[in-house]
């Protein structure tokens, strides 16, 4: 049963929303939530890769992220690699801080579902080496903080939707 509870809200537990800028944090505070402020810290474990291919005749570029697409394009003599494979952090959050909006009546030990995680956890892995961040996860309120119930043992390569 513990496994079933990971990374989804099947048990209809309470959802904790995230505010990602000063305005929405203050609005939530005025509505009675306790904003639990966190820094947005990119993890070095979350990595994507890209390469940029340019058409010498037209100047147009193509950004690719998969070796197999690169091999398909490789035979075209008009295309040249202008940026070779480069790793990067693939998210661009506008604010360097965010907040979990904690309901005033939350109980110590209460399990909640965080829809939009502020912290970076590896949510998906790819056999070409890429790792993508986990969007959502359960957490337990300990009276001061949310303890994220992340389990790195789960196979995180599959997407359903």
């Amino acid at each position: 049963m513990e496994y079933l509870n990971k990374n989804k809200n099947m048990d209809n537990i309470r959802i904790v929303k995230t505010a990602r800028d000063k305005k929405s944090i203050n609005e939530a505070a005025q509505q009675g939530f306790l904003p639990l402020i966190k820094k947005v810290v990119p993890s070095s474990e979350i990595r994507s890769k890209y390469a940029v291919i340019q058409n010498k005749k037209t100047g147009e570029i193509e950004v690719i992220g998969d070796y197999r697409i690169f091999f398909e394009l490789e035979g075209n003599p008009d295309l040249v690699t202008v940026i070779d494979w480069t790793e990067y952090y693939p998210h661009n959050f506008a604010s360097p801080f965010a907040a979990y909006l904690i309901p005033k009546d939350i109980q110590i030990g209460e399990r909640v579902f965080i829809e939009d995680l502020i912290e970076d956890f590896v949510g998906a892995t790819w056999n070409q080496g890429g790792t993508f961040r986990l969007e959502s996860c359960d957490a337990i309120w300990n009276g001061k903080d949310l303890e994220i119930q992340y389990n790195p043992q789960i196979d995180f390569s599959k997407f359903v939707g």
């Binding site: 079933l4 990971k6 990374n7 989804k8 809200n9 099947m10 994507s48 890769k49 890209y50 950004v63 690719i64 992220g65 998969d66 197999r68 697409i69 990067y88 693939p90 998210h91 661009n92 998906a124 892995t125 790819w126 056999n127 070409q128 890429g130 993508f132 969007e135 959502s136 789960i154 196979d155 390569s157 599959k158 997407f159 359903v160 939707g161």
Partner: protein, 92 residues
């Protein structure tokens, strides 16, 4: 088939948009009830979730065109899937 793990959008190899992956229940494939070799059932919304591993782009496009609410499962490591991560490059 091409997939952007940042935007969760699925496209054909020709760049035609198929759908945006989104599950409000954050369901995991391994927790679904098997109904056939290529589909599983979600008890939350009674949808069938179709495994895309052995589907062609045409089959997938036809399926989703027939029913826009069709749920899909894809694995980043499946052979017929290429990963694009262009979402960040198109942000303003």
């Amino acid at each position: 088939m091409r997939f952007d793990p940042i935007t969760k959008e699925v496209y054909t190899n020709n760049g035609e948009f198929i759908k945006k992956m989104h599950c409000p229940y954050k369901i995991k494939w391994d927790n679904l009830e098997a109904t056939s070799a290529t589909s599983r059932k979600c008890s939350n919304c009674d949808h069938l979730i179709i495994d895309t591993e052995y589907m062609s782009d045409d089959e997938l496009l036809h399926l989703v065109t027939q029913n826009r609410d069709t749920c899909l499962k894809l694995d980043l490591n499946q052979q017929n899937l290429q990963i694009i991560s262009n979402g960040i490059f198109e942000q303003k």
